[in-house]
């Protein structure tokens, strides 16, 4: 058996660095953590690329935490929301960069989470013993989308105001409870400074309080069960150590993600529209963020097929049913490769992916041109 990594580190480091490392190691047990990480193996095969998407999502979440805290320094919820975001964007040094990075990271994170979810789905990573990993991941994605929805209103510009108004009309169609729920979220019959305060509390306190423990739970499960090997790959597939090999590749991917993020934030900075004016008519092309476009378009389609509240309610019901089925997939396809259920699950996944992509493109295509 070779030397322990801690011994190697001690040998490699000399003088002050070695002494500092030893001092910290004796108190925190760094070597044990490193040894544990070194023992963990990651399968390597032709689909390994998809393993990185969870890490990318996590990295983008961390970026959002850091930039979110920086934005908190200057952001003022309530009636001053717009003015504070105007100052951040146009007056405060690098304020525009922090805000752009936060907004772009949010969009990229949801995009990466979708890729991560579908790659886990098609690699059958929801099967025993990873059911809870699948469910916690889905909850995290839904929470991330609520994060996006609540954050979108905070600048309180024209687009945010009307997009939120459209967004809140969706739960309002639920019979009996719908209007009441919408009123609770809004803080009244209209979107005002009170709504911004509620969304702010949701965005910076309630959602993180829910998100972070579930994220930790998800990560613990990933560590406990390791990466799943997809069907079709040999069971004795080659593995590489998590540390340093996989971790170093992950680090490189994180650095590249950071560059993509910086490029988007710097070249396409997030703009601020005119202040929200409830008396003005909504812009012709008002629409939700891209990750809600599919559900928005499906509701529109159902609304056209079944005019009135029935259509909207039916749309919502179909969407909810789809989500429930997506949750229950581990029960429908618990076995290993080749079975009828495995094939049916794959077709279901392809169908869901196709519907999401097509309705999203259709939604943008159908927007009225304002130019």
């Amino acid at each position: 058996m070779g030397k322990l990594l801690s011994e190697e580190v001690k040998e490699r480091k000399s003088g002050a660095v070695a002494r500092i490392y030893q001092w910290v190691d004796e108190r925190l047990g760094l070597s044990e953590v490193i040894e544990l990480a070194k023992k963990k193996e990651v399968p390597e095969h032709r689909h390994s690329f998809w393993y990185y998407w969870g890490g990318i999502t996590l990295f983008l979440f961390l970026v959002m935490c850091v930039t979110g805290v920086l934005l908190l320094v200057y952001y003022r919820p309530g009636d001053e929301a717009y003015e504070s975001v105007r100052q951040i964007t146009y007056d405060i040094k690098f304020g525009w960069l922090i805000r752009s990075t936060h907004s772009w990271a949010a969009n990229l994170m949801i995009g990466a989470a979708f890729v991560h979810m579908f790659s886990a789905f098609f690699m059958r990573a929801y099967r025993k013993p990873r059911e809870f990993t699948w469910w916690s991941g889905l909850v995290l994605l839904i929470l991330a989308m609520v994060f996006g929805f609540s954050g979108y209103l905070l600048p309180m510009d024209e687009l945010a105001y009307f997009a939120t108004k459209v967004g809140l009309s969706i739960p309002a169609v639920i019979p009996v409870l719908g209007p009441w729920v919408a009123d609770i979220i809004r803080g009244g019959p209209e979107i005002t400074g009170f709504t911004v305060s509620r969304f702010f509390a949701l965005h910076v306190v309630i959602l993180p309080a829910l998100f972070i423990p579930i994220l930790i739970f998800h990560l613990i499960l990933v560590q406990k069960h390791g990466m799943s090997v997809p069907d079709g790959e040999a069971k004795d597939v080659r593995t590489i150590p998590f540390f340093p090999n996989f971790a170093m590749r992950d680090l490189a991917i994180w650095l590249i993600t950071l560059n993509v993020l910086a490029l988007l934030a710097a070249l396409f900075p997030w703009k601020l529209g005119a202040p929200a004016d409830p008396l003005k008519p909504a812009p012709m092309d008002i629409h939700p963020e891209w990750y809600f476009m599919s559900s928005f378009q499906m509701l529109k389609i159902f609304g056209q097929l079944f005019p009135g509240a029935v259509g909207e309610f039916l749309g919502l019901a179909v969407f909810t049913l789809g989500l429930v089925l997506w949750f229950l997939i581990p029960f429908f396809d618990p076995k290993t490769e080749g079975g009828l259920r495995a094939r049916a699950t794959m077709y279901f996944g392809l169908f869901v992916l196709g519907v999401l992509v097509i309705t999203t493109i259709w939604g943008y295509w159908a927007l009225p041109s304002t130019k």
């Binding site: 690098f94 590749r249 490189a252 590249i256 950071l258």
Partner: protein, 480 residues
């Protein structure tokens, strides 16, 4: 008509130059750094008796010859074509000042290309000592091309007070050396040399990352580590050289770097700041990725990683060159010629006598009758003003779209903007990065009417489509 107007729809002529130039800069810097890499690697392999390294070098020098000889040379010629079309006045000034500089560079370039070919074809045919010296000759000749072109490039930002004192008098060539060895010459040469060395390392990582980790593990380990070390000089000295460079840049231009720190407001020129941020981050990432992946785990360094590093190098080059070009705004040659070709000294004359009278396009011929503008040609005059003074940086519908800038603005608002743009210095916030708008009141009014037509619901016509006014003007000139 002396010059054609080169209007590239949607992307604009500036961006065409940018795309060609970025590829050229990347390859030409590799031509210099890679040459040095080949020479020093062969020498090191011979000295240390590394036969396995020597076996891989002919393949590398073939890759080097093809890439630099084909892509480098083609994009070099491409820059000439594109700058000549996009900014004929600026290109003409450079040629008139540096004709002997360029002639020298071309001679050295021929020597460089011949030596690169000779170096590749003589592997195993010349005694090793002679072959190494051939590599040294190549490295020196390629570096000399940088020594020359660097003088001409830096001249545009800091043409030197001696040259500026005689600019436009016909005696400019008397100050060739002051213009050539201008204030930013040395820091720029140092910066570019560091970039060349880094590019030698990056491209070598791309080439050697394809070695098989299982079968050729030891040689891969050695060569990848050696190539990684080539990024070390840039890591250590680039920040110092960058500060040195900035200290030599005129203060008015240095301010452009800080314009984008606090705002992205409409009308604020923030590109230099944003591009500089990208350049710093991508450069730091390259150093990080190369250290953590290539240097620490050379056998695991794969082709995909190397391509990622190369893409980052492409981004860093694009951002750095873009920032450097924009740092000169509103000039194409600092304090002498604006980016749309208008001479700084001609502003007053153009305002008094008219832009069209002094325009190199001479399209005013036939536009006026007894000193008065023909009523039916107002829109055509406006379009020609737009072509002459705006299209070197703006397009109608694409990059820096004029229609987007004007969106929702009525005639009064457009008139106010144009009035502000006629002012210089503190009178206009645009004067820091845009040339002053020149012309008589009648010409400015015609431009306003043309710009208003771009915002109308019918959206006006594309700037290069033949208009009825243009047909009428051609008829008048031909005497029909």
């Amino acid at each position: 008509m002396n010059y054609p107007v080169w209007n590239v729809p949607y992307i604009g002529s500036g961006l065409v130059i940018g795309i060609v130039a970025i590829v050229h800069v990347l390859v030409s810097h590799f031509a210099i750094g890679g040459g040095l890499f080949l020479y020093l690697t062969e020498k090191k392999a011979l000295r240390e008796g590394r036969e396995d390294w020597l076996k891989r070098l002919p393949g590398y020098s073939k890759f080097f010859l093809v890439l630099t000889g084909v892509v480098g040379a083609m994009t070099g010629v491409g820059i000439w074509f594109s700058i000549g079309l996009a900014n004929p006045a600026g290109t003409s000034t450079l040629i008139h000042n540096f004709v002997f500089g360029w002639a020298t560079e071309w001679v050295i370039f021929l020597v460089e290309l011949s030596l690169a070919a000779a170096y590749y074809y003589t592997w195993g045919r010349l005694p090793s000592g002679v072959h190494v010296r051939l590599g040294l000759l190549y490295a020196v000749s390629s570096f000399l091309t940088l020594v020359i072109i660097n003088g001409i490039l830096t001249f545009k930002l800091t043409p030197s007070s001696a040259w500026l004192s005689v600019a436009g008098t016909g005696k400019e060539a008397e100050h060739f050396f002051e213009a050539f060895f201008n204030p930013t010459y040395w820091p720029s040469l140092a910066l570019r040399t560091l970039v060349c060395i880094s590019m030698g390392g990056v491209m070598s990582l791309v080439f050697f990352s394809r070695l098989d980790s299982e079968k050729e593990g030891e040689v891969k380990r050695g060569l990848i580590r050696w190539a990684s070390l080539w990024l070390l000089p840039a890591f250590v000295f680039m920040p110092i050289c960058f500060i040195w460079y900035l200290s030599m840049v005129p203060e008015s231009q240095r301010e452009l770097l800080s314009l984008g720190i606090s705002t992205i407001g409409v009308g604020a020129f923030t590109q230099v700041t944003r591009l500089t941020l990208i350049a710093i981050l991508t450069t730091a990432t390259i150093v990080g990725v190369v250290y953590f992946l290539a240097f620490l785990y050379p056998r695991d360094f794969e082709f995909g990683h190397a391509i990622a590093v190369l893409l980052l190098a492409f981004l860093a080059t694009a951002a750095t060159e873009g920032a450097r070009e924009m740092l000169r705004k509103p000039y194409i040659i600092f304090d002498y010629m604006y980016s749309n070709g208008t001479l700084k000294s001609a502003v007053g004359k153009c305002n008094e006598e008219g832009y069209m009278v002094h325009s190199p396009w001479k399209i005013n011929e036939g536009m006026f009758e007894s000193g008065n503008l023909r009523g039916s040609l107002v829109m055509e005059l406006g379009r020609q003003m737009f072509l002459g003074q705006c299209v070197s940086c703006h397009t109608v519908d694409g990059y820096r779209s004029m229609r987007d800038f004007l969106y929702d603005r009525d005639e009064t608002a457009i008139g106010n903007i144009l009035a502000m743009m006629r002012k210089t210095g503190e009178g206009s916030p645009y004067s820091k990065f845009m040339p002053p708008l020149v012309g008589t009141d009648e010409e400015i009014d015609a431009l306003k009417k043309y710009l208003v037509s771009l915002t109308s619901p019918s959206k006006g016509k594309g700037v290069m489509e033949v208009t009825s006014g243009e047909r009428e003007l051609q008829g008048i000139v031909k005497g029909n």
